[in-house]
């Protein structure tokens, strides 16, 4: 079962949440971030080239212009490969674990998998981010030595930064699965 809904992120950009329910114990949430806008790309390129042209008039060395072109190209490629995240996915499988995947604009994917034995809970936290107060979903991990303590907090959807309404949808689904997992688990 698959459905798609449109939300907005904390800056007002448009996000698309795709939910796939593969089975009662396996669900996937896919958040698509807004694409690289042409305006910002043009603005950055123009700034860099104007600066390069200014330096060129100062020093009359044409290497500066070629260098500016290279810098722009390499910078764009580096941005697409290392910084710009296109899609963030959360896959939660009962009794196996939670997997978070970030796909970059250049196609690179980075995945983290947390086993269900290490997951204590999934919660929505409130945080102060610059001048804003935002909500974010995070996974609380158990301490292997002391099961009642929390050893780590792993935030989810860090690049997409959806708003509370989107987070509540994801939170509810995750809690259903976690409740089922806790009911059927062997260890306390």
């Amino acid at each position: 079962m698959e459905d798609e809904r449109s939300f907005s992120d904390i800056c007002g950009g448009r996000l698309v949440l795709q939910r796939r329910y593969y089975s009662p114990f396996c669900r996937e949430f896919c958040l698509t971030c807004p694409r690289l806008s042409l305006c910002s790309l043009t603005a950055v390129t123009c700034t860099v080239w104007l600066a390069a042209y200014g330096l060129f008039t100062l020093w009359e060395n044409s290497m500066i212009l070629s260098a500016a072109i290279f810098i722009t190209l390499l910078g764009l490629l580096g941005y697409l490969h290392f910084v710009k995240i296109d899609q963030e996915t959360l896959l939660i499988i009962d009794s196996l674990g939670i997997q978070m995947t970030s796909s970059y604009a250049s196609g690179k994917e980075s995945t983290t998998f947390i086993e269900m034995g290490n997951v204590k809970d999934v919660v929505i936290n409130e945080a102060i981010y610059m001048q804003k107060v935002i909500y974010y979903l995070c996974i609380l991990l158990k301490d292997p030595v002391e099961p009642h303590k929390i050893s780590q907090v792993v935030p989810v959807f860090q690049s997409a930064k959806p708003r509370l309404d989107c987070l509540i949808e994801v939170y509810r689904s995750c809690q259903e699965i976690l409740a089922h997992q806790k009911a059927t688990s062997t260890s306390p």
Binding site: P24, S95, G117, T184
Partner: protein, 669 residues
Amino acid sequence: MNLPHWALCVSLSSVPLALHSVPAIHSDLGLLTRVPGSLGFGAGSRGLKVLGEVGCLPAHTRQDPNQRQAGRVCLGWVAWGRGVALHCPPASEASTVLSFQQLFWARQRVPGMVLKAFFPTCCASADSGLLVGRWVPEQSSAVVLAVVHFPFIPIQVKELLAQVQQASQVGVAVLGTWCHRQQEPEESLGHFLEGLGTIFSHEPWLQLCRERGSKSWSCKAIRQQVPVAPGVPSEDQVMLIFYDQRKVLLSQLHPPTVLPDHQAGDAVASSGGLAVVFDTVARSELLFHGDQYDEGPVRLSHWQSEGVEASVLGELAKRASGPVCLLLACLLSLVSAVSACWLWKLWPLPFIRSKLSTCEQLRHRLEHLTLVFSTQRAQSPTQLMSSNRIGQLADALVPVADHVAEELQHLLQWLMGAPAGLKMNRALDQVLGRFFLYHIHLWISYIHLMSPFIERILWHVGLSACLGLTVALSILSDIIALLTFHIYCFYVYGARLYCLKIYGLSSLWRLFRGKKWNVLRQRVDSCSYNLDQLFIGTLLFTILVFLLPTTALYYLVFTLLRLLVVTVQGLIHLLVDLINSLPLYSLGLRLCRPYRLAAGVKFRVLEHEAGRPLRLLMQINPLPYSHVVHTYRLPSCGCHPKHSWGSLCRKLFFGELIYPWRQRGDRQD
């Protein structure tokens, strides 16, 4: 009450036991209330298996519905082939630990319990047969290792499994049946497969089935012993997880989760569900020796069935490596013996050797080679063996030295004038300036004298550059040190002069105030001076104070130059350190065989049809490069300067000499 309440179902496939003292056994899933003391029971224990600590989930007890306690599973038995009754004394009590051949957890039947079946991708196209692997009850997961094909003799299969179990300490057993059939289901095969369930009984019994040529799978896990409704075997929901057996076999998880020590037989993995899978596959190598094409009694299908990997060159290299290693080890020991010879211990050779970083590097390289013999060399350097290149380099060196000396002369002329607008003491200025100029003149003459021989020396030195890039860099560092030797000398002269001046000034300042430094007590004491002592002291003090700016300026200039040279040498040393400690093998492994170094796993959901079991593909998530370097760093030389910034500034202010080349194990000069 001090006994935990819990419900536990145990099934034993072998001889039923007679119970001595029968506790209160309830018919529905062996609900147990209170059992006094320890129980005795009849024979039937075959081999000991310690289960360790497990958490127990109690069934709805009569007294406390939600009580949960962890207890130590101590003993269990079975009565008449089924049923339950299990008693667990409190954890603090030392208990007699008994075990049985197959002892299983079966929890309270909760609808929707998922069973995970890890299935190797290589067996997905194998013919029908029996599934062989390991059952992990705590995670409710079955790790399938191989498929045994028909025809087989059950006794031989059991023997092979016992053999593997003994060799690898992994509880390998028959988990179920695998059916790879044509479009129309064959009834006879189905009945035959079900009949196998009685020969190799396992709880739960897996039945995986796939239609030839299609992607639809069907899986069933049947539990005979714990019926929801009496008489009807219950089924669990199954989730299939495919894994690449060869990659999981060769891979190594970081950080390696330490599994608890294994006594004979199965042990409970207290953490890391996936680490158990990796561990199981890695330890069952013995199972992968036989193949379905071999003539042995049992025909298996696993990752080796796709073709045993080998290469002719690889095999030849393996055979040749033994004698080659031996030969090279002999040569290295010869070289080490020569270098440890007593001739090298005659002074001043050890002193020179400790100062030249090339010798240090050569020694390190020799140690390295002797210790880890098969390591490749750091980098194959560009060979400067052609005399053309050496000649060019030699021709370039002398003008560079000349240029440096000329620049120094300009600097001194500038100092002798009015540097930066400061007014110097004429006489002292001229004296110092002429002294240093003469020194430079000597140095230039020396360089010109040596210039015919430089080419030969460089050629011989360049020979040793074939030992690696690090040696070449160390040679460079030493050449820089030798070429800037006069700067070092100037720094020493300036520093000594300045140091003397500062000590003199501080001592005369104390005299001015009527105090004295007590060497015995290491402190400042008051002292009464004579009049003429005071007079001369004050005079000298005044002279020193007025000459201070000149000396300080010379000291400052030469110290800066020296620090510049030291910085350049330090950077080269850092680079050499970096190259030495870089784990090239691990980086190469991460580049070419990323599955060997695993940070974890990742799952991908395969095509899903309603009504069919969920299928996932488990792939290895390789370790990021930064973690590879961090984890596998080789120990570096350790030649870092031991100064902190504070002590460095203090030394500079008081004019004490700075020695930047402290090597490991060097005493204070």
